[in-house]
Amino acid sequence: MPDGAQPVLDVRGLKTVFRTRGGLIHAVNDVSFSLRPGELLGVVGESGSGKSVTMMSLLGLLPSPPAQNAGGQVMFEGKDLLKVSASELRAVRGGRIGFIFQDPMTSLNPVFTVGYQIMEPLRKHMGLDKERARKRAAELLDLVGIPDAARRLKDYPHQFSGGMRQRVMIAIALACDPKVLIADEPTTALDVTIQAQILELVRDLRQKLGMAIVWITHDLGVIAGIADRVMVMYGGQVVEMAPVKELFARPRHPYTQALLQTIPSLHGPRGDRLRTIDGQPPILRKAPSACPFMSRCRHAVPMCGLENPARRTLTPGHDVACHRAEELAIVREVAHG
């Protein structure tokens, strides 16, 4: 982890809202993070916490309407991606920043061959001619571990299994040697054995290509395996951000803590009952004025209802947004003991 290097991607105070018939939905509230070169940032959080929306709004991929940017800046290569022109943004999409989507079954266009879909960004961003693009596409497929790559370029997505389709998605995202790769739950829809294959592949590729990666997932196990740093999101906000070991060892936010306890372990002692996080995720109808986790938090105090806790740095590299972060650290330590 090359500490202190200039971040490739720097997001500051990103806000995204959805204008719906039922009113505004504040899906992303003041999210900030930065991505250092070659780093893998894991993003976890429960469903609907705004992980996908955050990442998609970086590149303006949300349907608009209803989505709308409500503030913040996304610095990439010295430019604010929220302000650049449409054509500049398109040059970044797929060219400098690759994107892998969650569902490999539907994210590929069913009526075009896999080859065509891989070649598209190549021809667009790298200006390759058809032949060269095809060669490169075959290399890419080979790179992501699909055997007999040159022949399979002519196949359609439905002729691939889920795992292979996800590899194709990865190949598309990698096509133009992006500086940043954003992977939105790339393995959630896959079997564990296939997931293991993909994770192995990404580890490999990272070593080979050295790009910075944002990896969204639900699965703390995956995060533990591949992330350098972890960002925990809740209710459209970043509630905790820490290096991976630090986070698993010393989670500071009650949500992170609860999350770590809900998952049964494969090897550890088998508890009698699983810990749960009761209650509902917040409905993001209004701009947050209280801690979004308050209603489900076992440690909530009146203060939590009055003020949305700001993100602060607890120890270097470890940020939390909780009024009682310090106390809770101790509580947990005690509980562990």
């Binding site: 039922g22 209650g279 509902q280 917040p282 209603s295 076992r298």
Partner: protein, 303 residues
């Protein structure tokens, strides 16, 4: 640890149609359509009381009049009051449109659901549909009219008898598309997990159909139904044209259009008004269909 959504007391389940209406109200097009539709209905139902002129009364001395106070929409070539004829024609047209559409939907849905749901019936029913699709309409209608006109007229009187005949004739020749659409839809819905769930409960097929399948195919049916009304109305006018329709002195909008065509240059209003109300009817029904489709789907309703 309370639920984020808490309410005070348990309300008993309320009628689902209220929810439908609540959603329906929010659809601007549908509300517009409803207003127009009811305006047309009001014209037809209340019209005769407000404008108490006999649509069949011939005042030959006052023929071919333009629009005036005595004859708001003018008169036709025999001096019949056009407004009264439009009102009277609407009654038949609307009745034929609605009844034929309903019957056609019934047939189409029945065949579609049966062939989609029961694999064994599928082949035969789809061949039947092909057969009807490939049958030429005109001879079929001629035949139906020849075979059934007299008995129907004897049993139900000339107007009711022909009404039944026309409604049945239109329905019998127009259910096939609905059947195909419904079948396709049923085939996919049949594979959905909630149908499997119903099976695991032990719900017999017939109740699976009525409880789960039918409500789910409502929206394609709704769409065909709205198109069906327009289709029925237009077919009725074509039938009148071929002399198979209602007695000639019995106005329908289709017939008014037909009758007005030769005078289009001389008295364009004779075509204009029936065309206007006809379009208004079809258009409003279409918008209502749009609204209903949204309103009937709780998923959209929630948005």
């Amino acid at each position: 640890m309370t639920d984020a959504v808490t309410t005070t007391s348990a309300r008993p389940p309320r009628n689902q149609w209220w929810d439908v209406w609540d959603q329906f109200k929010t659809h601007k097009g549908a509300m517009f359509g409803t207003v127009v539709f009811f305006a047309v209905i009001a014209l037809i139902v209340l019209g005769p009381y407000i404008w108490a002129v006999d649509a069949k009364y011939i005042n030959i001395r006052a023929r071919d009049q333009g629009m005036s106070l005595t004859y708001p929409l003018g008169t036709d070539q025999l001096g019949r009051d056009m407004l009264a004829r439009v009102i009277a024609g609407g009654k038949t047209t609307l009745a034929v449109g609605l009844a034929a559409m309903a019957l056609s939907m019934l047939l189409g849905t029945l065949v579609g659901v049966l062939s989609g749901f029961f694999k064994r019936a599928d082949g035969a029913l789809m061949r039947l549909t092909d057969l009807f699709l490939a049958l030429p309409l005109l001879p079929l209608l001629l035949l139906m009219v020849m075979l059934f006109r007299e008995p129907l007229v004897m049993n139900f009187g000339p107007e009711m008898g022909i009404f039944i005949l026309i409604v049945v004739a239109i329905a019998v020749t127009s259910w096939m598309n609905t059947a195909r659409i419904v079948r396709g839809e049923v085939l996919t819905i049949k594979e959905r997990e909630f149908v499997l769930a119903a099976r695991s409960i032990g719900t017999p097929s017939r109740r699976i159909i009525t409880r789960h399948i039918l409500p789910s195919v409502m929206s394609p049916i709704m769409v065909s139904a709205t198109l069906g009304i327009a289709n029925a109305v237009i077919t009725e006018s074509a039938l009148s044209f071929l002399g198979l329709g209602f007695p000639p002195d019995f106005p329908t909008w289709g017939r008014l259009l037909q009758d007005g065509m030769p005078y289009i240059n001389l008295h364009p209003e004779r075509v204009l008004w029936p065309a206007l109300v006809l379009s208004a009817l079809v258009l409003s029904v279409n918008y209502i269909g749009d609204g209903l489709r949204d309103a009937l789907d709780p998923r959209i309703r929630g948005r």
